[in-house]
Amino acid sequence: MSNQQTKMKSAHLMGLGEEFEPLEFIVTPEMNQQYLYAEEDFHPMYIEPRGDGPPLVHPGLLLNMSNNTRSPSFYLPPGWGEIHAGEETEYINPGRVGKKFRVTWKVIEAFEKRGRPWHVLDILVVDEDGVIIMRRKMTNTFASWELKR
């Protein structure tokens, strides 16, 4: 399947082995501070430079930016939404402010339960130096009025 076809495909129809388009983003101090406010966590390690480098990226930012709704190819038709139901998260290295991060998403399980489609996604966050920052397994289902009928 071409990238363009994948881009138009509704997320709930993605099948086993399919991937969302990766996301790349740079964490600026301002972006990190946005999440410090959102998470009500103003620990200095996220704000002040440290002996070994720039401040750390807040883990809540990495969680949010690695939700598959952040993928450039994520699409659901009007009236549909994705519900985050379960999670496995492994922190492998801290992210650093100023770095570029790349997130990849792959459907590793796709099934139907109680009339709803479900996905398990393998999610990897890697920085510009190839350092693995975080790995997630995210379990999602989908909601819509169409499914409620």
């Binding site: 972006m31 009500e40 620990h43 809540g60 939700n67 009236g79 379960g86 492994e90 922190y91 009025w145």
Partner: protein, 145 residues
């Protein structure tokens, strides 16, 4: 300062800071990056009409927002080294969190195992709302020493 040390006993319980899910923080978390066009992005976390069209009673707070609260508690317990080895497993989001809810992240030590010169801890983790309803349940691991 870390709160879990090699001497921490099984059964010991810990809690994070209570956090009120005010809409300003919910929008800031889920509306997209401030510099993005059309902020806040309309989604089931920021727009009541969007949420109700999916059959939800109102907007729901993103689960990753309070999963982030739990990560904060784990770093408080194990230190920032938790970002090099921490895990949260079997996490389930079992109840809708809405604007105005007061959440507290909690953890209870349920296992410990010597690994060389360090101790690996297993914790039951959960987030409670103001009614003491659990909204998130799961397991976490961390290393002390």
């Amino acid at each position: 300062m870390v709160r879990i040390t090699k001497d921490t006993e099984i059964g010991q319980e810990f809690a994070g800071k209570p956090k009120k899910m005010i809409w300003e923080r919910v929008w800031t978390f889920s509306g997209g990056v401030f510099t993005s066009q059309g902020w806040p992005k309309k989604n089931l976390h920021t727009d009541i009409e969007f949420a109700q069209n999916l059959g939800l009673p109102t907007v729901g707070v993103s689960a990753t927002q309070y999963l982030g609260h739990m990560a904060e508690l784990m770093i408080d317990l194990f230190g920032e080294a938790w970002l090099n080895h921490g895990r949260m497993s079997n996490v389930k989001f079992i109840k809708l969190v809405v604007d105005g809810d007061m959440l507290v992240s909690k953890a209870k030590v349920v296992g410990k195992e010597q690994e060389g010169s360090t101790v690996k801890y297993v914790l039951d983790i959960y987030v409670e709302n103001q009614n003491h309803d659990k909204v998130l349940v799961g397991t976490a691991t961390g290393i002390a020493g």
